[in-house]
Symmetry: none
Subunit: 158 residues, 2 copies
DNA sequence: GATAAAATCATCCTTTTGTATGAAGGAAAA
DNA sequence: TTTTCCTTCATACAAAAGGATGATTTTATC
């Protein structure tokens, strides 16, 4: 590939011609050699084989080159970006909301009552009330619906 | 291309070996020929050249084959879906939710209390309560947080 | 181990929310 | 025109939610 780059373009034909001449000369020279040193025939044969095989490879690469060009077909696939919810950890820690509080908040947003949340988390309703109260303080709201709305805006809940 | 197809796969190496053996045999045969008929050397030389050049081309094609295939690049472009909220009118009429009820629902989802909603709409709290009760019946829920959650899921509110 | 933060629960009291029920005026449909 | 639905409002009661406060127990963290 890198080799073919050296011998491509307008000079390609010229170089090809020169190479062919050289090869013919080499053949003639080998002819004499063959008569004189008959014993070393295999070496020459292999040399010739390698030489012409290389030539063939070179020709093939040169001829095949335009066919190797890669066709990039870029298909634009539009995807709805409702994407996965990414929790806003910064805001969460900025407000100092704890794990339990977040948990309660999430269940709140799903429409559960304090009693239901207490049952789900195996806690007393009073505990849930405490958590929610703290939550409201931290979110600076006074109702669960407000908390849900604000938390959603801050990407604390989906 | 079509030729290489015949000699590709697992049998490739075997066939290659056989071919090489045949070529070596041919060379040996040519050796004798060369000594006997010295005059016809050029013909053999060309034959050998053509043979090995063909071999080279065949090898090159075989090696280059995987590079010819086209590459399809699928680019997934995320489309922002923050877009304008489209109210689900079908669901709305299916559930039989009235304008006022929807209005109350929207304000609910924004975190307003019944009293605040009443003030905003210049209505009595009792009226808001009536509306919300009807709303809950139609949405088959029993709490405003549930109503908000379900309504959002049904695309009745943003 | 001490300190701080988080989590747990309770009690008392107020506000909000929800349910049930009834009623009356107005607009649209049958 | 009658009926139905929407809208409005009221009263009374029940349930849920919220605020204030205090206390105990974990759990980190230094």
């Amino acid at each position: 590939m890198t080799l073919s780059k050296f011998i491509s373009g307008k000079k390609g034909i010229l170089i090809y011609g020169v190479t062919m001449a050289a090869i013919l000369f080499l053949l003639k020279w080998l002819e004499m050699r063959l008569i004189i040193i008959d014993h070393a025939f295999e070496i020459y044969a292999v040399s010739i084989a390698v030489l012409f095989t290389s030539l063939g490879i070179w020709i093939a690469i040169k001829l095949a080159r335009p066919k190797i060009k890669t066709i990039f077909v870029e298909r634009i696939v539009p995807v709805k970006n409702d994407g996965p919810f990414v929790l806003n950890v910064e805001e969460l820690s900025r407000l100092g909301i704890s794990k339990r509080e977040l948990e309660v908040l999430q269940l709140m947003s799903e429409g559960f009552s304090n009693n239901e949340i207490a049952d789900k988390l195996f806690l007393s309703v009073n505990t849930i009330k405490t958590h929610s109260s703290r939550l409201f303080e931290k979110l600076e709201v006074s109702r669960r619906t407000q908390a849900i709305e604000k938390a959603r805006r801050l990407l604390i809940i989906p």
